[in-house]
């Protein structure tokens, strides 16, 4: 049946796409149909997808619940009473984590940009700055974050220098900023390098200085392109905010640790995982939406 003959008008596709046959509810190649394993459109593939998903997870669930260790696992990890007790406390203490990662992220975006620009300065005269940027990213991508946090969080106050703050939260933010800026520097660099050199040529030939070209022409384009990996690193930062527990700060992870130790139960960690999922999943969906929107804008609705 040719498309457009007798089908109901499709209100969801961009204008100009042919009307769809109701036997084929999803536009060929649409994102939903791609997730469901499309390529071939059709209600049939939807049903197969649903059936095999249910079958798979159903069997997995049955396997788990009928294993001999399940009652023990259930009461240790999925204990209703402990969950009720721990969840609100963890949520409350999560405020500390939120503070830490929000503040750190602001600094990360700025510090990383600084190092990315440093790294991109050409010519022999800027070699020392480039080397500094390379050393920085090598060191802080190389050392495990927990080590950086404990070295700074316990080590710096131990130096007893005048004016050096002792606050654990302060040093956790500094440590996280240093570590994540190293990663984000590379993300920015990839973005900068993805901007075609002809843009730089055009900007410089108008008389814009290197810094002006960077600021007005290259960076705006570069940053737009790397929003997904930037958001990915931000989510990593949010999870690593829990590492400040190592310094004694009673935030969400440590609260889970405390309740867990007091009751000899691991359910608080499940509560914590849930809190993190509630925070991070909307962000990942948002990134997906941004990428999709940008792709549509650039390709004008063409589906490849």
């Amino acid at each position: 049946m040719a498309a457009g003959s007798g089908g109901t008008p499709n209100l969801h596709s961009p204008p100009g796409t042919p009307e769809l046959d109701p036997r084929f509810p999803l536009p060929r190649g649409s994102r939903r149909s791609r997730i469901l394993g499309g390529g071939e459109p059709g209600a049939r593939s939807v049903w197969i997808a649903v059936a095999s998903t249910v079958a798979f997870f159903g069997v997995a669930a049955i396997l788990i619940v009928s294993s001999p260790g399940w009652p023990e696992i259930k009461s240790t990890f999925f204990n209703g009473r402990v969950f009720e007790e721990s969840f609100p406390k963890i949520v409350r203490q999560f405020g500390t984590n939120v503070f830490i990662f929000l503040v750190a992220e602001v600094f990360v975006l700025i510090v990383a940009l600084f190092f990315a620009v440093l790294r991109s300065l050409p010519g022999p005269v800027f070699a020392p700055l480039r080397i500094l940027a390379i050393a920085y990213t090598d060191i802080f991508r190389g050392i495990p974050t927990i080590l950086v946090i404990s070295l700074l969080g316990f080590g710096m106050p131990a130096l007893r220098l005048q004016g050096l703050p002792k606050s654990e939260v302060f040093w956790a933010i500094v440590a996280l900023t240093l570590v994540y800026s190293a990663y984000v520097t590379e993300v920015y660099r990839a973005g900068i390098e993805s901007v075609h050199p002809s843009q730089t040529a055009a900007a410089r030939s108008l008389g814009l200085s290197r810094l002006q070209s960077m600021r007005h022409v290259i960076l705006p384009q570069a940053v737009r392109r790397v929003v997904p990996p930037l958001l990915n690193d931000f989510i990593g930062l949010q999870k690593d905010s829990a590492l400040v527990a190592f310094l004694g700060v009673v935030e969400a992870l440590q609260t889970a640790n405390i309740i867990s130790a007091a009751e000899f139960n691991f359910t608080p960690f499940v509560s914590l995982a849930l809190v993190y999922l509630v925070i991070t999943i909307p962000q990942t969906r948002f990134v997906d939406w941004l990428v999709e929107r940008d792709r549509k804008r650039r390709q004008g609705g063409t589906v490849l």
Binding site: A202, R204, G207, L208, H216
Partner: protein
């Protein structure tokens, strides 16, 4: 530097210009003098060095040997202020290179506001004047990806003009355009020539070159093999290589 007492300096003087890319010796000694208001058309096969020559004049490519003097200033001297020189030389590229994240208007006003310090209101007004003059007033707020190739290239020319350059370099500006869009761009260039802009134009459009050029230079294998008024080059070329090149063009139906 003046050529003789009281004589105005030439717009562009190129002496003994050499440029290599690795092992590839592209420009092998270019000598060229351009007077004010002259329109020089550079013709030649691909790879003959037309683009490279223009990019050297704009200092996008550093030269290996020789010198370039613009309006009396030796721009290839060490320690020269490159940004200041580029303000005076406008260049338009084959692939337009508009800034995709800015509106057409902003593309044009960016350099005047940031480089020269023109107040925003003034830059805006001048940009709109340019757009109006070249028939794109209604596109001011559009983004480049919504414009046709011809329209984008015209915006690119206006972007260069906004800096009020002394000289315009046009590097095969119609080569990437569909044939029906070429004319509108050529019209803009004609208008600039009529207004007295000094221009170096690298082009494949022979008919256009014959119309507009005060002088045509044929580049072959990294040197200017022949140069002279269009009637001479197109009507009675004196060098064998020029003849061969033009014969190929005619055979390809492009003249």
């Amino acid at each position: 530097m003046t050529t003789a007492a009281g004589e105005a300096p030439r717009a562009v003087v190129i002496e003994g210009l050499h440029k290599s890319f690795g092992d590839l010796h592209v420009l092998r000694g270019i000598d060229l003098q351009v007077a004010d208001h002259e329109v020089i058309c550079l013709i030649g096969a691909s790879g003959s060095g037309k683009s490279t020559l223009l990019r050297c004049v704009n200092l996008i490519e550093p030269i290996d040997a020789g010198r370039i003097v613009v309006e009396g200033d030796e721009i290839t001297a060490p320690g020269v202020d490159v940004d200041a020189i580029r303000r005076r030389i406008g260049i338009v590229f084959q692939s337009f290179n508009l800034f995709p994240h800015m509106s057409v208007l902003h593309n044009i006003t960016l350099a005047p506001t940031k480089v020269v310090g023109t107040p925003a209101g003034e830059a805006d007004a001048e940009a709109r004047e340019l757009l109006d003059r070249f028939g794109l007033a209604d596109k001011a707020e559009e983004y480049p990806d919504r414009l046709s190739g011809g329209q984008q290239q015209r915006v690119a020319i206006m972007r260069a003009l906004a800096m009020r350059p002394d000289i315009m370099l046009l590097d095969e500006v119609t080569s990437a355009l569909d044939p029906e869009l070429v004319a509108e761009v050529l019209d803009v260039i004609r208008e600039l020539a009529a207004a007295g802009m000094t221009m170096l134009i690298a082009t494949h459009e022979m008919g256009f070159a014959r119309d507009i050029a005060t002088r045509v230079c044929f580049l072959d294998d990294g040197v200017i093999a022949e140069h002279g008024p269009p009637e001479q080059i197109f009507g009675g070329p004196q060098h064998e290589r020029t003849r061969q090149f033009l014969a190929r063009i005619v055979a390809a139906g492009r003249m």
